[in-house]
Symmetry: C2
Subunit: 233 residues, 2 copies
């Protein structure tokens, strides 16, 4: 954070944001990738993202979070605010982009399952597709995107264990089984329906969740619906 006034002449890196956009479909954690239509890695699948627009003038350009929101809107076509978005961390390995020095700030986005089908290709992507994270190791990806995906997935798993984030991967109203499915996929283990129900009901008692009118059949029998209480602790 210290430098003389002539720092402007020191070489600077390009800074990009890369998005790991997750959703839950078919009882599976899936990730949105786009096919690159320019070198390097032309034709290769990659995380959506782009460079942060900056300036040294009075208006210094967009914030990192704003850049991530912008890219998210461009790539998914979803309205801002419909999707949970949070920074994971920065990746700055030298040589991660062969052309020039790029430091990438990774973000994690969570798309509710109802919205996943409407996500479409943005302007600078030849194609966009949801990939199952389960078989992604075999898939060749551009840059160090495997590493970013691993870090983001780990970030997501940790967040699911320690915060309310599971709620971002479920529709507005949901059944006990639907929320259980989120935990089962993220924890990678089957959970006892009865035991999970008690955990769930404790959240209702604590006022985190509340019953919502109507019922829905996920399986063979209709189940009660719930929703989140207003917000914030």
């Amino acid at each position: 954070m210290d430098e003389p006034g002539h720092i402007r002449r020191y070489p600077r890196p390009a800074v990009a944001v890369d998005l790991t956009i997750f959703t839950l479909r078919d009882a599976d954690l899936q990730l949105l990738l786009i096919k690159r239509k320019r070198p390097p890695f032309e034709g290769c699948w990659a995380l959506p993202g782009g460079f942060v627009r900056v300036s040294d003038e009075q208006d210094q350009g967009e914030d990192l979070d704003q850049a991530a929101e912008r890219e998210l809107a461009e790539e998914t076509g979803l309205p801002t605010g419909a999707v949970f978005l949070e920074q994971v961390r920065a990746f700055g390995q030298a040589g991660r982009d062969p052309r020039l020095r790029v430091i990438s700030v990774a973000y994690m986005a969570l798309v509710r399952p109802e919205l996943a089908p409407v996500v479409c290709a943005g302007g600078d992507a030849a194609d966009a597709r949801w990939f199952s994270t389960a078989h992604l190791e075999q898939q060749p990806l551009a840059f160090d995107h495997h590493q970013i995906i691993n870090a983001a997935t780990e970030h997501l798993r940790r967040a699911i264990r320690t915060t309310d984030l599971a709620f971002e991967l479920v529709p507005e109203t949901f059944t006990v089984a639907e929320l259980r499915a989120v935990y089962e996929v993220l924890e990678g283990a089957r959970l006892d329906p009865g035991n999970f129900r008690r955990r769930f009901m404790r959240m209702v008692d604590d006022g985190v969740l509340q019953e919502s009118p109507g019922k829905r059949a996920t399986g063979s029998r209709k189940a009660r619906l719930y929703r989140f209480k207003p917000r914030q602790t």
Copy 2:
């Protein structure tokens, strides 16, 4: 992550690393700050840090982690590897540096209490001092360093709760009370000595900790010493 070959002409931000260097002294979580000797914020206390050295040439310069290690060595004089170092996240608010667009990657470092006294001022700091985090709100700081410190402190608290990181804030060998003090300071609450002891002993049973020869008096009575088992799960 997409751009034409002429991206080199787009404006880029400067990228810095800022270090939140914590230690535990006098039953208190403390943070190392340096007094800036150049504008802006000349004479103001600030986080140690500096710009990342980059290039677009074949050798693209240092990694973010390397830059943080280098700054840490320069500012503390401690040998690399003696101190735990981990990235927190990137801060990229527009206008956070009044002169030019700077994106800062924050790192958290944990200095064992025996090493804290030997930490001395580095080359580009007029002065360096440990500050108690308890009263830091009143202290005016340069840039958005208050925000970075809050995020890093939160990061640390979370890590203490969910990982083995408390061990980085204690000497090589330590007593039950010394480890308890780490948790008491970080959790901001007194812990029952008897109950904490059982938690501790479970770690011994699990092979995380092992007894070490000798005893040490933290208070009025000598206590057994422990150390960490080799490493890794």
